[in-house]
């Protein structure tokens, strides 16, 4: 294992993040504050409690997930797409590193950034709502796993993308709708029965439900199923990445 290489990729990627630290920090704080103002205070005050939790607090896990998933995906996809775009990928391909080391470096950095943003949003929510976290360790574990798995997905998108439009396409067309319809702002039990069934095909439901359970001890789906879903999703992403590097798909002619 070329640990030195993993370390170098990680540090190099994090440097990009620190160069734009203010943007990285301010934009989630502002957008979260806006969500709280609109949904938490303006609309939320007219909404009854959801499963015994005030609406403002209820949306916190969904808000964090929404940001973490989109940030992890876009960070990781950009991280590996950019070297392809500017040509510096030659160095990765000619260095004594294997796919696992490259993936750990890039995905690790992307996941760290997403985790940072998730924690910033969590801290911001404390300013707006009275929040009590039922299972702090499980909450953190879910957050880390989500950061990792969506960074893996982003990494795949970055390798697949042939231009900047494609880089934005999947997050915009697939991830954002899945997250919005995955119960970020509502409980699945609030839906009509037919939609409750359909929504179960949305993998994000399991993640948000599990994350919300860690906060409020209530969930749309059993916690075990949530863990299984995120584990399966991570495994699929790792499998796809292993295949990509074995075949050289889109990176090595």
């Amino acid at each position: 294992m070329n640990l030195q290489a993993i370390r170098s990729i990680y540090i190099f990627e994090m440097a990009r993040f620190f160069r734009t630290l203010m943007q990285s920090f301010i934009s989630p704080v502002i957008s979260t504050s806006l969500y709280f103002v609109v949904f938490g205070t303006a609309i939320g005050s007219r909404i009854q409690e959801v499963e015994g939790v005030g609406y403002g607090a209820f949306i916190v896990p969904g808000l964090i997930m929404l940001s973490v998933m989109t940030q992890a995906t876009s960070n990781a996809s950009f991280g590996i797409y950019f070297p392809k775009f500017i040509g510096t990928i030659y160095e990765l391909l000619s260095a004594p590193v294997n796919f696992l080391e490259i993936t750990i470096g890039y995905v690790g950095a992307a996941a760290t950034k997403a985790l940072f943003i998730g924690l910033v949003i969590l801290a911001t929510s404390f300013l707006f709502v009275d929040l009590h976290i039922a299972h702090p360790i499980a909450m953190l574990a879910f957050l880390v796993l989500t950061c990792l798995s969506f960074s893996l997905l982003g990494f795949i998108i970055g390798i697949w993308a042939g231009n900047f439009e494609q880089l934005q396409l999947i997050p915009l067309l697939i991830i954002t709708p899945l997250v919005f319809l995955g119960g970020s702002f509502y409980s699945v039990s609030m839906l009509p029965p037919i939609w409750q069934t359909i929504t179960m095909f949305n993998p994000v439901v399991y993640l948000i439900s599990g994350f919300r359970w860690a906060f409020f001890d209530t969930a749309d789906v059993p916690i075990g199923l949530s863990l299984f879903a995120i584990g399966l999703f991570t495994a699929i992403c790792v499998g796809v990445i292993a295949w990509i590097f074995r075949t050289g798909w889109r990176i090595r002619q």
Partner: protein, 309 residues
């Protein structure tokens, strides 16, 4: 001398069916500078990319320092530094950081003293904290070299290191290459500047249409090129070499005569030829000497190759 790189039957066929390399065999000796000459699209970059692992070979093997570049890629690649043709650099990063990154990527422990040495040798030390995007093209090229040298390679591939570089910088680059050779680094460079190959290479390989046409010691090649010709224009054209001049290596060339001689010998025979010409009563209107250059050999080799197809 032992071979540090051995290429056997290397073939690269792209998906479209285009064959960029056609069963190339090449031995690179430890410590030498070999220049690969060839026109654009000859397969120079594909050859280097395949040796370095950026491109997958369709067939054939490459061994570097005795390690196969696929089955034992870590050991093989540890020895190799690559300077690509394009200025592929992270624009927003500082020079020192990109060089540090390269060293780490090759699994070497951080060693800023070594990096300082490398940057100084390339006159980049005062730019170490500058962002790459602020540098000129020539400096960016040197940053690429610094990146390749950061991990102390034993074999350095330079793909067109002086393409689009001004004369002064080109000379600097040659000095850098000479220093590296003195440190025992094997250097493979591609170029289409023949004078570059003449100036720094120990051996010269000519590549065209995906095939190596020739690999020869530069000195042997230069001796072969030592042939010079003297063209003698005459006031009155002749049809055949006059009998009085039959002892000279003369041929009729259009209006005049062509004399071939070897510059490496003590006597070229020019003085006596001119004297004998006068004795024979031939009136000269002009004299012209020409040396066949590496360029001509190169052009004729490539033309032969193209003519054959």
């Amino acid at each position: 001398m032992t071979n540090i790189v051995e290429v056997r039957g290397l073939t690269k066929r792209y998906d479209g069916g285009f064959e960029a390399l056609k069963s190339v065999d090449l031995d690179i000796k430890k410590g030498e500078i070999i220049a690969l000459l060839g026109p654009n699209g000859a397969g120079k970059t594909t050859l280097i990319s395949t040796i370095c692992g950026i491109t997958r070979a369709t067939d054939g093997t490459v061994s570097i320092g005795g390690h196969d570049n696929v089955t034992d890629f870590r050991a093989a690649r540890n020895l190799v530094g690559l300077v690509p043709q394009e200025l592929n650099l992270e624009p927003f990063e500082k020079v020192m950081n990109t060089v540090r990154f390269s060293r780490g990527l090759f699994g070497k422990a951080p060693d800023d003293a070594h990096l300082e040495k490398v940057l100084k040798s390339l006159s980049l030390w005062d730019k170490k904290d500058a962002k790459v995007m602020m540098l000129s093209g020539g400096m960016k090229r040197r940053v690429l070299i610094a990146k390749a040298l950061s991990h102390e390679p034993r074999v350095l591939f330079l793909d067109e290191p002086t393409a689009g570089v001004d004369v002064e910088l080109r000379k600097d680059m040659w000095d850098v290459v000479a220093k590296l050779k003195a440190d025992g680094v094997t250097i493979i460079l591609t170029t289409h500047y023949i004078e570059e190959a003449e100036a720094i290479a120990d051996r010269i390989g000519v590549i065209a249409k995906g095939e190596i046409l020739l690999v020869e010691n530069k000195d042997d090649l230069m001796t072969r090129m030592g042939q010079k010709t003297l063209k003698i224009e005459l006031a009155e054209p002749v049809n055949a070499v006059p009998a009085a001049l039959s002892e000279y290596d003369l041929t009729v060339d259009g209006e005049g005569l062509l004399y071939s001689y070897d510059t490496q010998t003590d006597r070229t025979g020019i003085t006596s030829l001119l004297a004998d010409l006068q004795k024979a009563g031939l009136k000269m209107t002009d004299l012209q000497t020409r040396q066949s250059s590496l360029e001509e050999i190169f052009v004729s080799l490539v033309a032969e190759k193209e003519g054959a197809e």
